[in-house]
């Protein structure tokens, strides 16, 4: 057997691990999510979720927070990626470093930093009160604003890297061609840079959206008990309430919703691109 399939020998250890720690557990929670109180097959977990308005509200809030995060990471990441693409040499290396370093340090620590900045006795509030601009501390935390700030910081590197990858692959002679044809810098941005950065932008949007949908740590630390999202609900059901079938159903729902929305988004983007190609 191994003589005929030598690659099996190399693949087997990793395959066993993947099956035992990933594939089988995923199938297991899928089955578990269809389990009733007495262990029989039932749809009651999904029925509970779909008939209770509360879960719909939380799901909507999760999606809303993720969309805000996508928006802010996109707006903040684009200039950085453009700067990286335009600046060769050591300065580009430095910017890359300053984007990737925070990305490789635990999100708990980054969130902690934001707590010190945004909290009630945090840097911003103390500064503003010392200046006499406000009387009461502003609430940046333990609400959706805090969660979006935390998530934007947590996932911006993915967006920068995705956009930079597509900007780096733009053929530089296109810019020359644009300027020969009389385009100024703004025109060449809208007719060369922006359209050609779209694959990176779409990849970044998809990635940041999926990551935000399933983020647990940041909503827990920056949102506290005030902001409930599907990940925090799933965690509660599994670790506190110990209703595992319902928790499993929430996890499956989260995964399903994310996949569905991401697929819809890429379909939309693709049909739009086909139309553009055929109309021109």
């Amino acid at each position: 057997m191994l003589k005929r399939f030598p690659y099996l020998f190399l693949l087997l250890p990793a395959l066993i691990l993947l099956l035992g720690v990933f594939v089988i557990p995923m199938l297991f929670i899928l089955v578990l999510s269809f389990q009733g109180v007495e262990g029989q097959f039932s749809l009651e977990n999904y029925k509970t979720i779909f008939t209770d308005v509360y879960y719909w509200e939380v799901l909507w809030k999760t999606i809303k927070i993720s969309l805000y995060t996508v928006f802010f990471t996109l707006v903040l990441a684009f200039p950085v990626a453009m700067f990286m693409a335009k600046t060769p040499g050591k300065l580009r290396g430095l910017v890359t470093m300053l984007i990737i370093c925070p990305h490789l340090i635990s999100v708990v620590i980054r969130n902690f930093g934001w707590v010190v900045i945004l909290g009630e006795t945090g840097w911003i509030n103390v500064t503003l009160m010392d200046l006499g601009l406000i009387e009461q501390p502003l609430r940046f935390m333990y609400n959706e604003v805090g969660v979006v700030i935390g998530l934007t910081d947590a996932f911006i590197a993915y967006m920068v890297l995705a956009i930079a990858t597509s900007l780096y692959s733009i053929d530089q002679s296109l810019y020359k061609a644009a300027s020969i044809l009389g385009a100024n810098r703004i025109q060449s941005f809208f007719h060369v840079t922006l359209p050609l950065s779209m694959p990176g932008v779409f990849a970044g949007i998809t990635l940041v959206f999926s990551l935000s949908m399933s983020a647990y740590v940041t909503p827990a630390l920056m949102g506290g008990t005030g902001v409930k999202v599907i990940p925090t609900l799933a965690f509660e059901q599994i670790m506190a309430v110990l209703n595992w079938p319902l928790g499993a159903a929430l996890a499956i729902l989260l995964l399903g919703c994310t996949v569905l929305l991401v697929t819809l988004f890429s379909r939309l983007v693709e049909t739009k691109r086909y139309k553009e190609v055929f109309s021109s």
């Binding site: 693949l11 040499g89 620590i109």
Partner: protein, 268 residues
């Protein structure tokens, strides 16, 4: 380094870089406060909150536990990932693309769901809360990175060198040891360091897999933060930041951060 002229784009970039790095610019200074509470700007200067870590053996235990876990994770996932990548690159067989996709699939599923699935399944097979369960879940989330890095290393691999080795009469193991492995060293080493960091930083998967008595350092900070916010969190975090920076620096030296994240430095 030549400083560029002032540009709006450069200014925006600087602001955004400050935003992204703001947490560290705040944490490290405030860890040196001499006050008994957390504040920025810090009041006075002292090492008090670093010395106080020494009075809290649970933090030190958690640090060494995380270190151990990350080291074993790095070694095992590098070993398994490299072997798998070699099989995927060198052999053409049925279902290769499917297996390739399977190897990278833990990256596409959120770690929250990986954690939930692993906890529920492992509890069913009596591995819940065990070190083995925690370790296996950490290996799972780092294997895809190793596979991807080594596969990338193998696509630019010059196979004629291996052929030359065989023609000169070297045995397969010698060819592997003296030719294949040294050429893949940067990819394998950076896969190992990246796995280490992935495990050392992880909270979401650990959250579900740790036993109550043994907890990882990031998870400990996570739990501690939700109860009290004193300068201790800042000093412990600063130690972790410094420690992570050492490994990030190693990654930069061994492989290059831009190349690691798919930004090809050779282009213009």
């Amino acid at each position: 380094m030549r400083l560029p002229r002032f540009s709006l784009l450069g200014f925006l970039t600087l602001m955004i870089l400050i935003f992204v790095n703001a947490p560290f610019l705040i944490i490290v200074p405030s860890s040196f406060t001499s006050a008994g509470y957390l504040s920025f700007p810090p009041e006075g200067f002292s090492f008090d909150w670093y010395l106080k870590i020494l009075d809290r053996p649970e933090f030190i235990d958690a640090f060494f536990f995380s270190l151990q876990l990350a080291a074993i994770t790095a070694i095992v996932s590098t070993l398994l990932g490299t072997l798998a990548a070699l099989a995927l690159a060198k052999y053409k067989f049925k279902g290769r693309d499917a297996i390739n996709a399977l190897m990278l699939s833990p990256l596409t599923v959120p770690s929250l769901i990986i954690g939930i699935a692993a906890l529920l399944f492992f509890t069913r097979i009596n591995l819940g809360g065990s070190f083995l369960g925690l370790l296996l879940s950490h290996i799972l989330i780092s294997i895809p990175y190793v596979v991807r890095l080594v596969l990338t290393g193998l696509t630019s691999f010059d196979y004629t060198l291996e052929k030359a080795g065989y023609m000169l009469g070297a045995r397969p193991l010698n060819v592997f040891w003296d030719i294949t492995l040294p050429m893949l060293r940067p990819a394998i080493l950076s896969g190992m360091i990246f796995s280490f960091l992935t495990s050392f930083d992880n909270v979401t998967v650990s959250l579900f897999m740790v036993a109550p008595d043994t907890t990882t350092l990031p998870l400990m900070i996570f739990n501690y933060m939700q109860e009290s916010l004193d300068p201790m969190v800042a000093s412990v975090s600063s130690v972790v930041i410094l420690f992570s920076l050492v490994f990030i620096f190693l990654l930069e030296k061994v492989y290059g951060l831009d190349r690691l994240f798919g930004l090809n430095a050779q282009q213009h």
